[in-house]
Amino acid sequence: MVFAKRSAKDLIVGKIPFLIALAVLTLLPLLNVGGFWLDVLTKVNLFLLVTLAIDLYSGTTYYLNLGVSFTFGFAGYSLALLNVYYGIPTEYSMLLAIPISIFFSLAILLPSLKIRGVYFAILSLLVPIIFIGIVTAQPFSLYLGGEGGLRFKQLFLDFARSLPPGIRLTFLQYSYYYISLAAAVVGYVIAYKIGFSDFGFMLRAVGQDEELAEGTGINTLKVKVIGFLISSAYASVAGALYASMRPPVTVDLVVPANTLIPPLTSVIVGGLGTLIGPAIANYLLLLTYELLWGLIGRWRVIAYMLLLIIIITIKPQGIVFKAYVEARKFLRGVFSE
């Protein structure tokens, strides 16, 4: 076990690739990439947390939790409600929203944890759909903003207003970017530590064969609950940060097509449970999608989806992780000679 862990770790970690990626992402904004790309990169950094949320739990245990978008959006709504109805400034309500969203996700989705296989996926998908229905239906829509959403002051807006008008927007964009980057880096390092800890191996054991795992003395229910808790924490942090930067909060945050499918796709294309694969895929896929907009305009959705279908049908087990391992082996060979 220890040996297996070491060698797997050796192949996957690689401090050098991690540091290179970190350096690129830190220095990129200084190259004057423009407001649009800064916004996109901020979003991609935060989506990394959602990708990790899915990979840490669903990627290891094979319990497909499609309720992630509910947790993500619920954090946003908690933030907005605290702000609008209790007058708590965004900076603090953002922090408060995280435990609230984790608590509600656990309370709502935990009863379904005993359900196995495809039924768990169906049930978890119904949760965001019901939430959207509630938000947009009378009488709840009067309090929750309905289709138009809830408006509030975005993060650091008060401080930005004390700055000279010319640099307000730039300040906001750069501060958001670096916050998202910090969250992504911390999130990745923690995910990595969890993924290759004993606990991470217990999660994988549940995914391999739940009965067998139970037989070897693992309390599978406990493992699943803790795994779920960690996953919800990732999605909540991502949701709270994302919402705080882009008011108003609307159901778009909860719609699975927006906040579930892109990260889930990254996990699948990256390779389930490998962490580094989905992380790389997260950046590659989301940036490709934005690039296509400039290249082919309105046909981008179709082109992107075709690309995904081709990639996934060729390698259903995920392509990025394998490519990464091969590339590292190759580079190691080059440098050792």
């Binding site: 495809v118 169906i122 049930l123 009378q138 959705v301």
Partner: protein, 286 residues
């Protein structure tokens, strides 16, 4: 006056339930065989409606002929989706989830670009009949009888036809059926075609009553999903029962709570049922 409202609720519960039955049947049967939800199912619904629309308005075909062609097109499209997109990922169910979803987006975007967001509609079966003093469009009767016909023919097909029996065998166990000399991939092809025909028939039948836009495929997909979960994966009878529970519950809730909350009330009911009975009403424990 009260009596009238109850009659109305009763009648329209039956009619709405029959629409849910039409679009869940094919989805349910395919889900049972492939063990994977085909998320492109809703796009076959809009595909057949758009094909029929194009054939009747641009070429001027008779509605009945156009409908049959549209249904066939949906069946063939479903077959193609199964071959190209689903088959390579059968060992990795999560990946099929994404690929079929991608297909759904491709259809949606294609129709959005080509047809625009303007809703289209198809010819209604003419005439009105009075039932218990309530005026009802004859089209509702067409849907009701078609849905029952679809249910009965699917049940008979699965029970008596050789291919239908193979479908049930494969749904039971892929390995066992292989041992019996059945080729599961061949059976899967049949299942995809039949499911496509059913989705196509639904599109042609329901579009006259609800205008159709490129995003119209999602509603039926999610409802079918919920109904299959409630009825139990792989059980056609479960689908029938679940459709009627869904329809009656939704219609009565519309009366009690108003239309906003009512549309999601059956989903809440389903979540509660699944928490206590994870395999659905008629599903088997694995």
């Amino acid at each position: 006056m009260y009596v009238d409202i109850y009659k109305y609720i009763l009648l329209f519960s039956i009619f709405h339930s029959s629409t849910y039955l039409t679009f869940s049947l094919g989805f349910s049967m395919l889900f049972g065989v492939a063990k994977i939800p085909n998320l492109a199912y809703g796009s076959l619904y809009i595909l057949s409606a758009y094909v029929m629309y194009a054939l009747t308005t641009y070429i001027g075909l008779e509605p009945l002929v156009a409908a049959l062609v549209a249904i066939l097109v949906a069946g063939l499209a479903s077959l193609l989706i199964g071959e190209v997109v689903v088959k390579p990922g059968l060992k990795m169910p999560v990946s099929v989830f994404i690929t079929t979803l991608s297909v759904a987006y491709i259809f949606e975007e294609f129709f959005r670009i080509e047809m625009g967001l303007r809703p289209i509609t198809l010819p209604v079966y003419p005439g009105v009949t009075y039932v218990l003093g309530v005026p009802v469009s004859n089209h509702w009767f067409l849907i009701l009888s078609a849905s029952l016909l679809m249910f009965l023919s699917l049940t008979a097909f699965l029970k008596y036809a050789v291919l239908g029996r193979s479908i049930r065998a494969v749904a039971e166990s892929w390995d066992e059926s292989r041992r019996l000399g059945i080729d599961p991939l061949k059976v899967l092809r049949v299942a995809f075609f039949v499911a496509g025909v059913y989705a196509g028939a639904t599109g042609v039948l329901l579009t006259p009553l609800k205008a159709l836009t490129p995003t119209a495929g999602w509603g039926p997909l999610f409802t079918a999903f919920a109904i299959v979960a409630l009825g139990g994966v792989g059980s056609v009878t479960g689908t029938l029962i679940a459709s009627f529970i869904y329809g009656f519950f939704e219609q009565s809730m519309t009366y009690v709570l108003g239309s906003g909350v009512a549309s999601i009330s059956p989903l809440i009911l389903i979540v509660l049922v699944l928490v206590f009975r994870p395999q659905g009403l008629m599903g088997r424990v694995e």
